[in-house]
Symmetry: C2
Subunit: 523 residues, 2 copies
Amino acid sequence: MLTGKSIIGSERGSETGTTFRAFNPQTGDAVEPDFYSATLDELNRAADLADAARIPFGNVAASERAKFLRAIADNIEALGDTLIERASLETALPNARFVGERGRTCSQLRMFADLLDEGSWVDARIDHAIPGRQPLPKPDVRSMLRPLGPVAVFCASNFPLAYSVAGGDTASALAAGCPVIVNAHVAHPGTAELVGIAVAKAVRDCSMPEGTFSLLFSDGYEIGQALVKHPAIKAVGFTGSRRGGRALMDIAAARPEPIPVYTEMSSVNPTFILPSAVVERGDAIAAGLHASVTGGVGQFCTKPGLVFLPESERSENFISNFKSQISDTAPSPLLTGGIRKSYEDATAHRRSEVAGFTANEETNLPGFAVNPSVFETSAIEFLNTPDLNEEIFGPTTLLIRSSKHEELLDIARSLEGQLTASVHGSESDLSEYADLIEILETKVGRLIFNGFSTGVEVCPSMVHGGPYPATSDSRSTAVGSRAITRFARLVCFQNFPDAALPRELKKANPCAIWRMIDNAYTK
Amino acid sequence: MLTGKSIIGSERGSETGTTFRAFNPQTGDAVEPDFYSATLDELNRAADLADAARIPFGNVAASERAKFLRAIADNIEALGDTLIERASLETALPNARFVGERGRTCSQLRMFADLLDEGSWVDARIDHAIPGRQPLPKPDVRSMLRPLGPVAVFCASNFPLAYSVAGGDTASALAAGCPVIVNAHVAHPGTAELVGIAVAKAVRDCSMPEGTFSLLFSDGYEIGQALVKHPAIKAVGFTGSRRGGRALMDIAAARPEPIPVYTEMSSVNPTFILPSAVVERGDAIAAGLHASVTGGVGQFCTKPGLVFLPESERSENFISNFKSQISDTAPSPLLTGGIRKSYEDATAHRRSEVAGFTANEETNLPGFAVNPSVFETSAIEFLNTPDLNEEIFGPTTLLIRSSKHEELLDIARSLEGQLTASVHGSESDLSEYADLIEILETKVGRLIFNGFSTGVEVCPSMVHGGPYPATSDSRSTAVGSRAITRFARLVCFQNFPDAALPRELKKANPCAIWRMIDNAYTK
């Protein structure tokens, strides 16, 4: 089924570009078939098609876009075990993980379909004319969210389904009415092609404009950067490294026409375990923390990378308990050789700075496998060593002892932007540490009480975002139904006759949506 | 009453910086008193105060912020004729203009106060826990918009009240809970100081944190640029030239932590007069166009700078009618010597490219006065001369003859981003030119049917924005109640006990706001 060729609208790419292969992280061996990097000509063709699809796809009725999203989900499910097995082969993550991730991917697509069918997300507003108003008549003014235009989506290494070809960024952009060009991740091109075929089939079956979707393979940065520079592209979605995300932000900001970029990059998800929690639930928290740090081989953006504990005997019990769980954790392969090298380099560097502990002595591990590790330090040392704030992608975390309330506030103030912060404690701790929570609120997208940061619920209220460098745009979320508004912009119609208005703004409210009419919410 | 000194929290700036004065555009003479440019130390002090105010001001109850906004409006009104006369002196715009603009400024402040009292703008969302859900429990997740942090506001030359010290950007940022540091416009520092005194008094009287508001004078770019670079600043609002706005965008994008910038810059507001309109309402449209082009001496961002007309005898009547109105228009002073020079240079350049007509022969005009002018060309020449798209700030416009439907589409496709586009015609024209409207929709923030682009209604549905270079962020609006969301970001609370939640997210809904609860709008 795999051809290794890009998907350019209704056609397939050529075999002229450089080739590359996926790797099996278990063994480090290359996996068939060859994938052909897209050429700049192919990229330009995909961008021209997306540009041509911009108006017609943006004007497809919401109910038809909803059907299209559901067709994508159905087609992904129809791939069956082929998809699960290829994703597992390319990542060394277990089949069960991909059964779950496929479920999330398809439910995200259907969530946006439901959102379109309900329709109120467009924030329709109507202010009626007052022709006799003094000193000037008031015009009829109506507005709503409309699509931003073609979107470039970069697949995430760590979510081959849920944040890749038909993942959250693509689903929300298509839902908003924006054509999408996906830049496949070099680590799982076969998974990308399978999902790409599923999306392309939905485009055809639902009679969407040809340029609604393209998928480009590439094994370097050239195609991705050219995509962000292309004048037809009006927004970017990216999940990956801080360096990669910042590079795309800088390219987008330097364009003749700068465009919005939604990069999700780097987060160490500080976790504060307050004294009462260590005493009352130390063992349970240690077990939860271990699962959160090592789940997905530590490759979740919400992995707790900094854990603050009181200086106490109970904390020492907690730490030795946690270490023994790390010690009992088998080595596991990371997603790519590059991620393994970064993990090995970063943990070696951290070992040179603070006390550290690695699970196994065995260093001659097969494929991309690594040993989990844990580091520990004092609050003062942490405050004096800024690079301890750096994210290490992989199964490791840093435990920091601090018992002084004011010191915790200083630490919180010193933090960069984060996706999440977690606090474990009692309800009375929340009052006592209200000042800590206030500071953390300015640093994160999501505050969690007595829970772990991994596991991001997909729901209308979820915020998966946060101040830089967690993301490029703290105003938005990449998870949950609000993600659709990232790819929309406000358009206003003044004094338009009913017949010429979008359906959402017509007098009769044919979409039956919530609207703000003369400053009151009305349905 | 005027001291010429910056307002740094509760204190006034020093007299150590360089001095400058306002000018009377009628005469070109400098006007007392001296104003003292803020020093970098003063800027840093203002930024530190704003940073210190970030959490306490962000946590002021919405009802108290509403009172604060109303107090600002009351204090501005209490300045009485002093304010009107100073604004008129510094701009040569008539007193009546400032009576109107003061009304708009104060009603904007009160609109945001009402918005806070109603409260639903925070987009509160609640998803209840489902502890027994399989395979994993669903947590309780709640989220809402919270303030972004301190905002730098740059005053607009052309709206000394409504888009300056306590104008739309400041009002919406304060409403969102963000401290504000204003960079006064060099052309109307006296107006700025008067309004700054009114805001500072409201800060004191309402017991807001000291750093809630500061006002910096400066006669160069250094202070403004340092302000945008300051790490305490989390967003920027600016209204001005394309070059100035882009410079701030580039500075903000190059920061270690890039921040959102809302610049409103450049728009030529294309106006399409279709054949039926010229025939049926030619005289009325010519009169309306004249008022729109020359109002405020052509210094509105929504001034129609490109006017497309059919090639017909009736169009020639329209053109000669319009020219004779321009011919009868007296010279008027522009806001600054710099704006006058730009107008003279740009109209001279345009005269070298296309046919042009200037109202009076008199060139030895007093102060910053200029003559209105009008240019005309063909569609082909327009399409072949890209710099005819450039905005000329001042009382001038460009008339372009085109009778081919397809040619109008090509013109629309060639346009840069705009604040507005207007179409004059019949309802059946709107069907016939539906393809034109579709293209224009991708280029503008506001589409107007049978009306003029100047005169921006302040209401919940207004969109004063548009794709670059009209603004830096087409997703947002600078006018109307939605402007508040520019200065807010999403924050999520997971599994928080009711007592620790913000009021807007508490179980009992003590703010009585609309909320999305378990995916349904509820009040």
